[in-house]
């Protein structure tokens, strides 16, 4: 009897467990679900919690509610100024209308093939009307917003909300990149040459200044030196004049004597003398003592 009761309990519990297993389902906070009744959507569940369904009759499809990734392939875009760019963008989206999403896309794996081309054409459209500098520098943020907006418009048809489209990379194609490298190299070479020229210029300026200063210093010195020498000469003249004006006649005689002595050096002078000169006065006539007197001038 006890055994029969135990069997009943076990069967009942098992039945309840089975019913719970087939009839109850959990929707997580990062999920949303649609309940299908033989393929016909009857409920959309977007709040997390424990829910029930009719076993066998109803089935549940869950969809992610989080922000999902979509990384597009790199593609070449021509900007409005005909410059080409390799653009690699990524999108972040979430499923906001699970039913629409289910109908249009069905599952996440198909999103890439549906939304990818949308993003690519939006990129092409928006970037094609912007210039290269707009994209790289000036209006990147605005352009990304514009792309996101366009993609979002089209994404709505798939039950998607495109949160963000960002340009991850916007680089030049290899050929253009090479041109940029060449230009960069040329610019740097110019800059280097400029620095060296500046250096040479500055060095020359410094040297020239130094040389000028040297010349001035020496010139000043020479001027002062000549002045000093002149002062010396003037002083000398004054001293001589002072002394010699006391007896100009004697000075003339005295100086002449000195000059004779200096002028006729022994060995290099030969003289033709007349014995009638004053010097020989007593040479021929030793007696005429009165012959002395003032010299002939």
């Amino acid at each position: 009897m006890l055994r029969a009761l135990a069997a009943v309990v076990v069967v009942t519990v098992g039945a309840i467990a089975a019913a719970a297993y087939f009839a109850l389902f959990v929707v997580h906070v990062n999920e949303q679900a649609i309940v299908l009744e033989f393929g016909k959507p009857v409920r959309i569940i977007s709040e997390p919690g424990l829910y029930w369904k009719i076993p066998v009759v109803q089935t549940v499809d869950t969809f992610d509610k989080r922000i999902l990734d979509l990384d597009t392939a790199e593609q070449e875009v021509t900007a409005a100024d005909q410059k080409r760019l390799k653009v690699d963008a990524f999108a972040r989206y979430r499923i906001v209308d699970p039913l629409l999403f289910y109908q249009a896309v069905r599952d996440e794996r198909s999103v890439r093939s549906r939304l990818g081309p949308v993003i690519e054409s939006a990129l092409r459209r928006v970037l094609g009307s912007a210039t290269f500098t707009d994209l790289v520098r000036d209006k990147r943020e605005a352009l990304m917003k514009q792309i996101a907006k366009q993609v979002n418009e089209e994404g709505k048809e798939f039950g998607l909300e495109v949160v963000d489209v960002r340009i991850k990379r916007a680089d030049l194609p290899d050929q253009n990149q090479k041109n940029v490298f060449d230009r960069m190299r040329a610019e740097r070479q110019r800059e280097a040459a400029e620095f060296r020229a500046e250096g040479t210029g500055a060095a020359n300026r410094i040297k020239a200044n130094a040389d000028r200063e040297v010349t001035i210093i020496k010139g000043d010195a020479t001027r002062d030196a000549e002045q000093t020498r002149g002062e010396g000469d003037a002083e000398r003249n004054r001293i001589f004049a002072d002394a010699y004006t006391r007896d100009p006649d004697f000075f003339a005689f005295y100086r002449s004597m000195q000059a004779y002595e200096q002028g006729f050096k022994p060995g290099d002078t030969r003289m033709l003398l007349s014995p009638e000169s004053e010097f020989f006065k007593y040479f021929t006539n030793p007696g005429s003592g009165n012959a002395t007197g003032a010299p002939k001038r």
């Binding site: 959990v26 906070v29 990062n30 999920e31 997390p48 919690g49 424990l50 922000i67 990524f90 500098t133 943020e141 991850k168 916007a170 680089d171 030049l172 990149q177 940029v180 490298f181 960069m184 190299r185 740097r188 280097a192 400029e194 620095f195 060296r196 500046e198 250096g199 500055a202 060095a203 020359n204 410094i206 040297k207 200063e213 040297v214 210093i217 020496k218 010195a221 002062d224 030196a225 020498r229 010396g232 002083e235 000398r236 001589f240 002394a243 005295y254 004597m257 004779y260 002595e261 022994p266 002078t269 030969r270 003289m271 003398l273 007349s274 014995p275 004053e278 010097f279 007197g293 010299p295």
Partner: protein, 368 residues
């Protein structure tokens, strides 16, 4: 009893494998638990049909212990020091638990997520610092497709950087975003390119590093916040900011040129600071020579005049005699050293004076 002996053996070997196989986590208990369950079920089956063979109390005790263990693992969970326990009841997050042992309702009702909230995560952009098998830092491999980017003045710069991030809000982190790692990386690349694109190459290479880091950090944080990702960007650190390898030589040459400029100027300065003092010295020499000349001239003049004045003084006492004496003395000295030919003008009239110049010349040469 075969069961008990097998049981004992199994436990022992399981315990022995512990230190090698798995760490001190709850892991190794799992198989034991299942085993225990199975065994207790088996035992129940054995007990139920009539209780033959085994002593009842031992089996009962084993069953109790087994149930207790099952209950323990079903109703508790463990949070490690670097984790946060997020408890989800029927899909709804209901509470968060700090490290330690905590109560929970068993599986279908409550689930636990354990994000590592204290860990600082690193994302490398532009390079991969691969670790070797033994854990030492291995070779760094460059990723030019990630690191080459355009600057605002249409140059290209090679930027490697790392991003440090941490979970700020575990709930947002777990339930709002699908691939946090990938998202952080893509946002980092996008933000860095945006910031670099707004600047010219020169500041990026030199003084604007910190500004770039801060701008990227701010931009990344804004974007991630707009996703409600529950991630905090702690730091953006530029590792290497260089011109691309294709043109780095030219950039290095600019540095060299800068150094050359300095060097040329310094050399010129050195020249200037050498020649100017030299010139000052030379000037001083010239001036001193002039002063010497002046003093010498004056001294000589003074000497000569004072000699003259002395002579004059004596001369005035006896002018005629002195004059004659001086004349004769002078002539004596002058004529004493010279060759002399005396021609009597009266007697020698008509005789042409013959000057043997060649002989004179010879004598002169002989004298020399």
């Amino acid at each position: 009893m075969p069961w008990s002996s097998q049981n004992g053996g199994g436990r022992k070997s399981g315990g022995g494998g512990g230190p090698w196989g798995q760490g001190p986590s709850g892991g190794p208990h799992q198989p034991d638990l299942e085993e225990l369950l199975k065994r207790s079920q088996d035992r129940l089956k054995q007990v139920m049909p009539g209780g033959s063979g085994l002593p009842g109390p031992v089996l009962f005790l084993v069953a109790i212990v087994g149930c207790a263990l099952v209950a323990f693992f079903a109703f508790t969970f463990r949070v490690n020091p670097d984790e946060l326990g997020v408890v989800v009841r029927f899909g709804k997050p209901v509470r968060q638990e700090p490290p330690g042992l905590h109560f929970r309702l068993p599986y279908p009702i409550e689930e636990v997520r354990l994000p590592k909230v204290t860990r600082q995560n690193i994302i490398e952009v532009g390079f991969r610092s691969g670790m070797t098998s033994r854990g030492f830092p291995g070779g760094v491999s460059d990723r030019p497709e990630e690191s080459l980017m355009l600057t605002g003045d249409e140059n290209i710069v090679d930027v490697d950087f790392v991003v440090f991030w941490r979970i700020r809000d575990a709930q947002q982190y777990l339930f709002n975003i699908q691939n946090p790692e990938v998202t952080v990386k893509e946002v980092a690349e996008s933000a860095m390119r945006e910031v670099v694109g707004q600047s010219n190459i020169q500041p990026i290479l030199t003084e604007a590093r910190q500004k770039t880091e801060q701008a990227v950090q701010k931009l990344m944080q804004e974007v991630l916040d707009s996703y409600q990702a529950g991630i905090r960007i702690e730091e953006v650190r530029l590792q290497k900011v260089d011109p691309p390898t294709q043109v780095i030589d030219a950039f290095r040459d600019v540095q060299a040129a800068r150094a050359d400029r300095e060097r040329l100027q310094n050399e010129a300065q050195a020249y200037a600071s050498r020649v100017i003092p030299e010139a000052r010295g030379e000037a001083e020499r010239i001036l001193q020579a002039a002063r010497g000349y002046k003093e010498q001239t004056v001294a000589e003049a003074t000497g000569q005049t004072s000699r003259f004045l002395k002579v004059l003084e004596e001369y005035k006492k006896a002018p005629d005699v002195t004059r004659k004496r001086m004349y004769l003395e002078t002539m004596e000295r002058v004529l004493g050293g010279t060759d002399k030919i005396i021609i009597d003008g009266k007697q020698g009239q008509g005789v042409v004076p013959f000057l043997p110049l060649d002989q004179l010349q010879k004598r002169k040469e002989g004298a020399n």
